[in-house]
């Protein structure tokens, strides 16, 4: 594996490779990407929502009972396979299964380091208002969508005119009152 890695690095020195091999390896590293986001956000003079690495078995019961208002996630994961909130169905058994699978995948012989678990604050607006997905090519904003979770998939809407932040107070007020 190490020889393959060195070979890919050597190739990038003579030609353009896209995606870059390092990006392939770091694709699911949410904590690395969050570190970049934190640095960029702080350089704009804003606060960024802090993540904290945890032992998942220490916090899952607090999340389920509502004593900890947070979402438990794992890096190197996709399709919400490793996302646990107070709304997750059968969370403790699911988490135990995840950890068993993780031990088998990332045993002592694994080339890759064991992924970390972390918590982030629970954000009601994500559920109600959705997320903006902005596609940028060559530094140009090409397209923006708003996606709102709608079982089993999404409700997707083009974002031609985003609601200005100054007008969100009226849109969001009832959500915060209910939380």
């Amino acid at each position: 594996m190490e020889e393959l890695w060195h070979g890919m690095q050597a190739l990038t020195r003579v030609t353009t490779i896209w995606p870059h091999p390092t990006d392939l390896l770091k694709a699911g590293s949410k904590l690395f990407l969050d570190m970049l986001i934190t640095r960029a956000t702080e350089s704009m003079g804003h606060d960024h929502i802090q993540l904290a690495t945890v032992d998942p078995l220490d916090v899952i019961e607090k999340i389920v009972s509502g004593n900890l208002n947070a979402v438990l996630k794992r890096e190197f994961s996709s399709h919400e396979h490793h996302v646990f909130s107070r709304h997750t169905h059968n969370p403790i058994q699911r988490l135990q299964r995840c950890i068993e699978n993780e031990k088998q995948t990332y045993g002592s012989c694994s080339t890759f380091p064991q992924p970390k678990w972390f918590i982030q604050p629970y954000l009601p607006p994500l559920v109600y208002l959705g997320e903006i997905r902005a596609f940028l090519v060559n530094g140009i904003l090409f397209r923006s969508l708003v996606t709102t979770p709608k079982f089993p998939s999404f409700y997707v809407q083009e974002l031609s005119f985003p609601t200005p932040l100054s007008l969100l107070r009226s849109v969001l007020s009832h959500i915060y009152v209910n939380c």
């Binding site: 694709a27 960024h48 090409f142």
Partner: protein
């Protein structure tokens, strides 16, 4: 259901210093600088990135924040909902950019990407 897309908008209601587009482009620049500082190589966010943005309330006001970054094969493109064909244009532009950086690299050995 209310969401982040306005059904109607007067230009007078937009705070020009705090628009979504300005936030995204400002953030892209800073993300690239941060990544190139840590990785010591050109960031591929110069070519393509999908930035996922949400809104949170802090000290009485609302703010955008970056929730996630995805690039290359990892980015879902939501093609299923692309009835207008806008994403096709985005992909064609990406193909042109990849040709551009590759040829620049051949002609100019100091070209960063």
């Amino acid at each position: 259901m209310p969401n982040l897309a306005a059904s109607s908008l007067s230009p007078h209601e937009e705070d020009v210093d705090n628009t979504l587009t300005q936030f995204i482009l400002n953030m892209l620049y800073r993300l690239i600088v941060a990544e190139e500082h840590f990785s010591n190589r050109p960031s591929t966010m110069r070519i393509f990135v999908r930035i996922d943005i949400s809104v949170y309330r802090h000290e009485g006001g609302f703010h955008y924040f970056v929730n996630e970054l995805t690039r290359s094969h990892q980015s879902g493109l939501f093609m299923h909902w692309d009835v207008s064909g806008k994403m096709e244009g985005c992909i064609q532009e990406l193909a042109k950019v990849l040709h551009y950086v590759t040829y620049q690299r051949q002609w100019n050995k100091n070209f960063p990407l």
